[in-house]
């Protein structure tokens, strides 16, 4: 278990990177607390796996340093870093039994056999494969194989951190839920530092204390699920977190008044905006009120998703989503108002000003 520091890490896969777009991973400077559960969330190709492989030592960063508990490990090999990592697709050793597969990382490190047995039996119990311990791993189904991969990651008790690279992609939904809660329980019990890469926001939000949202090779926001939901720092976080994502509307801002293509909205603060910046107003569909007063909208579609309804409408010539409670009435001449505390203002996609 360790505190991990990423000191101005950058990575480019090609040689001689010059401009920022040459880097798959733009500058990351961050500290991961010992015993924290972090989720790296972002769309495919945003650099989250690159960052994970840099932490585990499978990749050497082009620039920057990595420190475990203050010790520089940038040039140490994966073996010497004492890291466990679970990959997206199951990796099993075909010719070994399930038991030997789980014992492999321990035996390679010359752990005494009685300790191996204790750890392996415990993990077998946890992943529910005790009855198959003596069978060859070859004949198992994909999700059983992935459970073995997970088990190999968890079997060592002394690791600095456990890294998960979208480990539940091949597991079916029910099992996903079970394994996720087991991981969470293990984390509470042993206090591993865990880093969990995923593109599934539900997975990230349920697993982690802190969610790290990445976009285009950069960390755009690190925060608790609530922070990401209420105060997205970047319009991308607004889109990516939440279903449906945040409404982002182009806006002209003058002092504390916002002009949305003719519709005026008053703010409780006056954001400071640099001249010439592209300004936008962001509001979550959950905080748009549909009623008989306010600004007019034209409803194009209502999606009933059970507990609530999602109203797709057109407002100020832009599409907007509104979440209405399942009993909520939809008036014949619909108008909307925004919850003033839930309005975020963005300049060049980054959130500005006046904390509510």
């Amino acid at each position: 278990m360790a505190r991990i520091n990423l000191d101005h890490i950058r990575h480019a896969y090609g040689p001689n990177p010059k401009k920022p777009s040459d880097y798959s991973l733009k500058e990351v400077h961050h500290e991961w607390n010992d015993g924290g559960a972090y989720a790296l969330l972002g769309p495919s190709g945003c650099g989250k796996t690159t960052l994970l492989n840099i932490i585990s030592g499978l990749l050497q960063p082009s620039e920057g340093k990595i420190l475990f508990d203050g010790k520089d490990v940038t040039n140490l090999s994966t073996q010497d870093r004492n890291i466990a990592q679970v990959f997206q697709f199951p990796v099993i050793y075909d010719t070994m039994t399930v038991y030997d597969n789980l014992a492999f990382p321990l035996r390679n490190r010359r752990v005494p056999e009685n300790e191996v047995d204790r750890r392996v039996t415990e993990i077998l119990e946890m992943i529910g494969l005790s009855d198959r311990a003596k069978k060859k791993a070859q004949g198992l189904t994909a999700d059983q194989k992935q459970k073995i991969s997970l088990g190999r990651g968890l079997v060592r008790s002394d690791v600095s951190a456990i890294l998960f690279d979208e480990p539940l992609t091949v597991i079916d939904p029910h099992m996903k839920w079970v394994l996720r809660s087991q991981l969470k329980r293990l984390h509470k019990q042993f206090g591993f530092t865990m880093v969990y890469v995923t593109h599934d926001q539900t997975e990230a939000l349920t697993f982690a204390d802190k969610v790290v949202v990445m976009y285009d090779g950069e960390i755009v926001q690190i925060g608790t699920p609530a922070e990401l939901f209420e105060r997205p720092k970047h319009t991308f976080v607004g889109y990516f977190i939440g279903s449906p994502g945040m409404n982002v509307l182009p806006a002209k801002i003058d002092g504390s008044s916002v002009d949305l293509d003719g519709q005026k909205v008053a703010l409780s603060f006056a954001p400071k905006i640099a001249a010439g910046a592209k300004t936008e107003l962001g509001i979550r569909p959950e905080f748009v009120r549909l009623g008989r007063e306010g600004m007019p909208v034209t409803i194009s579609k209502v999606e009933d998703i059970g507990r609530q309804k999602i109203v797709r409408a057109s407002f100020a010539n832009r599409p907007i989503a509104i979440v209405v409670h399942e009993d909520g009435e939809i008036p014949s001449e619909p108008k909307i108002t925004f919850d003033p505390n839930a309005i975020n203002i963005y300049a060049d996609s980054w959130r500005v000003g006046g904390e509510a």
Binding site: F87, V91, F104
Partner: protein
Amino acid sequence: MEKTWNNKAWFMVLPVLVLVAFSAVIPLMTVVNYSVQDTFGNNEFFWNGVGWFSDVLDSDRFWEALGRNLLFSGIILAIEIPLGILIALNMPKKGFGVPVCLVLMSLPLLIPWNVVGTIWQVFGRVDIGLLGYTLAALGIPYNYVNNVFDAWLTLIVMDVWHWTSLVVLLCYAGLVSIPDAYYQAAKIDGASRWAVFRYIQLPKMKRVLLIAFLLRFMDSFMIYTEPFVITGGGPGNSTTFLSIDLVKMAIGQFDLGPAAAMSLIYFLIILLLSWIFYTVMTNSDAQN
């Protein structure tokens, strides 16, 4: 599901049947026909039963040749399979070196058998060959024409040079199909280089190795052209393999009956041994 019976379908397989009949079944049956008959010329044939078979099986000449075949196949398999794996493991996995290595590896495979034989026949000659002359100049006695050991050595080195590439290419194909995640996981698990080979690479190469093994066994067991060109079966009978003996008998002495009987025995041996290897190797797979 209802099966549709339509006898016209047989016409569809007819071309294949005709082709196989003319290329394999009919020639084989001709051999079977010769093997059970005797002739004194004039195209008159007499029934001889299993006479030729017992003659062949009773002759020392046959057993000695068979022994040489088994020894030769054994030696070249013992060299080519491990050497092929070793080279494949050390070939580059990406970059500029890949096509270079692949072309270099494929070159020996593209040379016809008799040309390979001729190359080594000249290469090893003491009077003009690069190898033979150099060795002689260095004072190392080497002469494949009159020394049994040198003759065998030449044939084995030649076969290794000619065919190890095949094993390399097959193993390489098996190796590059292993996803990177396996090597990464092995690093994370702290596996040694040997453990990576033993638990990842070897199991993944198993199928291609089976094919490589069978191909090299069958091919080396049927070796004919190269010893015929290089040593002509000599010195003495020391490199007379079954195939060379067979041709001597059938074309040299024109003993069609014994030659036919011997071909059939030869064929059955290859079939039997291949079947045994295949069964043993796939069985160990199934038990896993």
